[in-house]
Amino acid sequence: MLKIENLQVKLEEEDKQILKGLSLTVPSGEVHAIMGPNGSGKSTMSYVLSGKGGYEVTGGSATLDGVDLLAMEPEERAAAGLFLAFQYPVEIPGVGNMTFLRTAVNSQRKSRGEDEMSAAEFLKVIRAKAKSLKIDAEMLKRPVNVGFSGGEKKRNEILQMAMLEPKMCVLDETDSGLDVDAMKLVAEGVNALRDGKRSFLVITHYQRLLDHIKPDVVHIMADGRIIKSGGPELALEVENNGYADLLAEVA
């Protein structure tokens, strides 16, 4: 269970408050979506949860199954089960996708005190998972995200998610820049990982992703906090009416 309470975050470099008392709980097994106008702090939330530099937490807390996420290094948060699917996955020239993933899987296992996955076992698992995501074996050999199309990059994120088997997946606008078919494929990948225990926090601008990944709860975020939560119908409301009415409600 991810529990964010009254989280307050400002930029490290300038005195600009971005999250202003964000509270949010995602119980295990549930899929929550976050929607909100540009600049409301959605991506900041995902970065702060995963430990990216440049932000200063000035108050509040964030825990995953009771463990304080904010006190840990980014890699420790990952090993604790937090996964972030990036909006813009970076390229790492010269590092094979497979080498990268195996290093990641084994680093996490090691820090959890588990046995490393053997090369043979890893190969077997990744091939099976890649196949189910319609990822070409060729893509596994290419350097991480180098020369990947937008769709390939996002699919690669989902593949990493599938291999790392996190408890809590944060998807930061995974649908941005994808055509309908690619989006469907990504959504199928996510759905395949829903197992009743794993939780998802899906950040998106568009309701259409939520047609494919059915959320249990939809939150609307504005100006650094959640202003309204509800069922999937909330997403439809936003789709039809925009945010103006909701913003007016809380104003």
């Binding site: 990216k52 890699e75 948060r77 020239p93 590092v95 094979g96 899987v105 790392l164």
Partner: protein, 506 residues
Amino acid sequence: MTALDTMKAKDGVDQETVDAVQSVEKYKYGFSTDIEMDFAPKGVNEDIVRLISSKNEEPEWMTEWRLQAFRRWQQMDEPDWAMVHYPEIDFQDIYYYAKPKSMLVKPKSLDEVDPKLLATYEKLGIPLKEQMILAGIEGAGDTPAEGRKVAVDAVFDSVSIGTTFKDELAKAGVIFCSISEAIREHPELVKKYLGSVVPQSDNYYATLNSAVFSDGSFVYIPEGTKCPMELSTYFRINAENTGQFERTLIIADKGSYVSYLEGCTAPKRDTNQLHAAVVELVIMEDAEIKYSTVQNWFPGDENGKGGIYNFVTKRADCRGDRAKVMWTQVETGSAVTWKYPSCILRGDDSSGEFYSIAIANNYQQADTGTKMVHLGKNTKSRIVSKGISAGRAQNTYRGLVSMHPKAKNSRNYTQCDSLLIGDKCGAHTVPYIEVRNNSSRVEHEATTSKVDDEQLFYCRQRGIDEEAALALIVNGFAKEVLQSLPMEFAMEAQALVAISLEGSVG
């Protein structure tokens, strides 16, 4: 040896923490061996040159050759054109000859060698027993571990400790021994080739080396022979204030092939030590030499104290048509590096390749590159240089590509990439290109990039810690060069990349 050794646990600091800190040894080859040594007096003069020559039981012509070089050296000035800065070296404050006492009476075989010496090499992970080296290879393209033989010549301070697999090599007609032994046993070969690639008067350090070199390796591969195993030399500087001047001479006769590996380490010391080696490769018609170096001399501590001055002259002469040479170097050590392994492409259709990774961290300075001198027709050369700078280090690529008038239809391709880690280091690229005919082609590509925070964060979000992430990114950057190394060296080099960059992020 280090301050940590005598560190007492303070109140509130548990022993475990102290142990953990101690175990994070940045330069794991930094130990020294306590061994009784026989030194020649400090400094260099004609008597010292004669002494070194007589210690090696050299014939008169060799002594004369050395003296000639010494007289020449006295009239030369230290070069100052490289982008490196260091305090003036007092050449009279260095020991030019140091030999373990136990080696005064030459051991007949490795079984007779002082166990302390053998233990030193064992600690370094260098097999001096004639055993198969098992390379258990990790990675996605898993191949079963395969047994490989590598013959080793081990040089400790000034002398060769011993050479393995000599008999097996002799059966193939290959001569692999120390150069002092070659001077005694194979004078005709040494006379013919020594100084024929790097002349006595070539440059300040090469000339000094010609006068005072104490030992090194000698290889002769006869016509049409593919050397049955990889050959390798491990250099170890142990004694304090001692210069190491080794000389390597490799001759690949017509149609022969050899792959040669060179590794080097030194103890951690506060003072700087001088290493001025000369390597000469002679490649005849249709022959090929692959020469790989993993240079891991002590680089100095994180404040720039101590470390090896590495002033090395390496040159290959492709004398025959279709001769081939490939230099691969991984330069991670030394406080100051001044080194340009070069190829003289004399024979028609001969080719030279140079693959280099140069890592400079903390206060290290590296000025390294290559020279490709195209003399013959249709000669080809390829340069792939990957420079990595971190901390306050300065890393310079300096390379010459020269197409002579007769080198018709020759080609060169140069790729020169620099990677910066942090904002206090520097990378410099100084290419010299001379083309004196109109049918040759020279290509030069250069890039400079920085390891960016986004890449590091991406890796860390996937669970890879910062140092491992950096090693991964840097190994990716240097991949083309790592791939050109022999398998077991590639593994070592990858690990070395990680160790060299410790402490450069965060």
